[in-house]
Amino acid sequence: MSVGRAGLDQAGVDVVVVGGGIAGASAAANLAMNGLSVVMLEKQESYTDIVRGEWIAPWGLREAQLLGVEDAFGVGGSWEIREWTQWDETVAPDEAETVDMTRFVPGVGGPMSFPHHTVCELMAEQAEDNGATVVMGVQRAHVTKGVNPVVRYQKDGVAHELRPRMVIGATGRGCTIGRQIGVSMATSVHHWGGGVRVSGIDDWPMDVQAMGTEGDKMFMVFPQGEGMARLYINFPTTNKNRYRGPDGTARFIADFELDCLPDRGKSVYAAATAIGPLKVWPSVAMFPEQSIVTDGVVLVGDEAGNADTVLGTGLSCSLRDTRSVCEVLTGGDDWSPAAFESYLAERDFRMKRLHFGADIIAKLHCEFGPAAAERRRRARALMAENFAASVTGLLNMVPPEDVPDFGFSEFFAERLFRETV
């Protein structure tokens, strides 16, 4: 599994992928499938739950199909979620509306929730089965950009060096490779988020996901089948230490006792048992300040810049990135920065829309207090009156380019929030 000392002068490596998450592992699997010589480097010794994205939009699953990695989701414990019920403190539990999510993208069905680490593991195995070298437990990966890029890393205290034709940087929000090649990020934090994977919620309808706001938290329940689910809570930055301490997980689960859920959320708070760690994080939006493509290196996934996690499109974005980049690498011999122009243009367009949408969702659902609740009540009324007002929610279903243009106008945002009349 590991590249030995021979790796120092290992000739003929086409691509080194740094980072074995959804973006990196899907790239490694696709490139290996297409006959390229691939080495994938992953920091973890083995894949475990480190609380990463576990919800993927139908349009992201379409990307997985195009990449040929959809079975990693299906057999890695994915569960198709069919309905989305919009419980919220501004609506009575039995009056909350339900949206059928299975019909937005032909040939795909609803979004999926899944244990992130098992899906990554299966993609890495798929890459290996197709001839890629997967190195786990990699430390101090370092990339030197250039027409002939160099990748150095340590494994078990031994230094290794690779000289591939191309490096894919996919280290996530840490932006390790990006910083090494001189890409800095402008960031903004709107709120904080936390998540834990649970089992035992047998009375929660496994077809139904929940997203809503009550008091000072925005909650999400994403079923994973068999009484399991990923729970998330978004909360104000001022309260970022709320789940600190040894009983943080218990308090997190107890926070699902909510007036706006049927039976006050009893099927969650009284039944859930954590089956993984609780993690909290600042929900950062990141905007690259330099090009994410340079000689010998291309960035994908969160490492290339990402929208606020509240939107839930991070994984879908990662797979779209991977597909675009893999198409260049498997489509011809020109791997120069110029060959990635369409990737850059498409990503730029896509991220503008996702940032715009995420800002609306964050403002609507992740701001708290009476004024914010009143704003949600008004927005809901507007959506009930005219379905077109829920256009932003389409970003969770169809690719950004398929969402009608009016959803990205300042006029629409102002209208939605009734800031001007």
């Binding site: 959809e70 079975d71 994915s78 198709e80």
Partner: protein
């Protein structure tokens, strides 16, 4: 992935296919036959205790499953062909006569093996699935039971339909029973799903249903039938009704608190039942009709 879930010791080329199998221990041979969509791994809790009790355990991956060949054509999965795989494997291992134990489709194979090859069978133990004669005249209740529905669904269900939406239909059909998290992983391997479905296509196609086979030779071996109260798919009468097809000594055991996957849900009890049965009874010897 496979390596983690495998106890396989060897592979043999018999009856035109490669059959991977476990061969462990010395003593009277016991052949363990798994069903759908399992492999030898179904018997992981029974293999060692049987070996320790002085048996030689042979647990193959039947064709189409696990580490064995997966022909893609439906005709390759005729029951008689699969029975011949077991004959070929035991011959290859120099075994003339063995205890035969089967679960689910493996039980169906075991029944057929027992009445087609009476001299090769010592004791017969069948779990979950009763004698095929009972099924040729299914009751209304049995028709309504879900496994029976599956019997009719799987031949027509496409690979694409089972795989779509993250194997959602497959997961719904299997529920949270057996090795439900492992099955899709196994079936996602190249050719595996088609091979597994071919078991149904070859043996439960509408055409096969029209052929009513009723003249089954009697089973002469001492026979143990086991059925579990948590089996959502098969009715108790399928097993108890099998008694009339058995001429040898017949025992019936009902297992509580177990789904269809009895060897996984009540591993110790299954081991105990097998140890208390295999080699304890005397067979009715097959009589050869004298030529006049």
């Amino acid at each position: 992935m496979t390596t983690k879930d495998s106890l396989l010791t060897d592979t043999a080329h018999v009856n035109g296919v490669d059959i991977a199998y476990v061969d462990k221990g010395t003593g009277d041979p016991v052949v363990l036959l798994h069903g759908f969509p399992d492999s030898h791994y179904l018997w992981r809790h029974q293999i060692d205790p049987l070996v320790e009790a002085g048996f030689r355990v042979i647990a193959p991956d039947l064709r189409g499953f696990g580490g064995s060949s997966k022909p893609q054509e439906v005709e390759a999965y005729d029951m008689r062909t699969i029975v011949n795989d077991v004959v070929g494997l035991t011959q290859h291992l120099g075994i003339a006569r063995a205890h035969i134990v089967g679960h689910d489709w493996g039980a169906a194979i075991a029944w057929m093996y027992a009445f087609l090859m009476p001299r090769r069978v010592d004791h017969l133990a069948v779990l979950s699935v009763g004698h095929p004669g009972v099924f040729s005249t299914p009751s209304i209740e049995q028709r309504a039971a879900s496994w029976y529905m599956l019997f009719y669904q799987f031949p027509g269900v496409s690979e694409q339909l089972l795989r779509r939406n993250g194997w959602r239909l497959f997961k719904e059909i299997m529920g949270g029973e057996g090795d439900h998290q492992r099955y899709p992983r196994e079936l996602a391997k190249p050719g595996a799903l088609t091979a597994a479905l071919n078991w149904y296509r070859a043996n439960r196609s509408p055409a096969a249903e029209l052929r009513v086979e009723s003249n089954f030779p009697p089973v002469l071996a001492p026979t143990l039938g086991v059925w579990s109260t948590g089996d959502k798919a098969l009715l108790e009468e399928g097993m108890t009704g099998s008694a009339k097809f058995v001429k040898g000594p017949w025992r019936y055991e009902r297992v509580e608190d177990a789904s269809h996957w009895i060897p996984l849900d009540q591993p110790e009890q299954v081991t105990k039942l097998l140890l208390g049965f295999l080699g304890t009874e005397r067979a009715v010897l097959p009589t050869r009709r004298r030529r006049l």
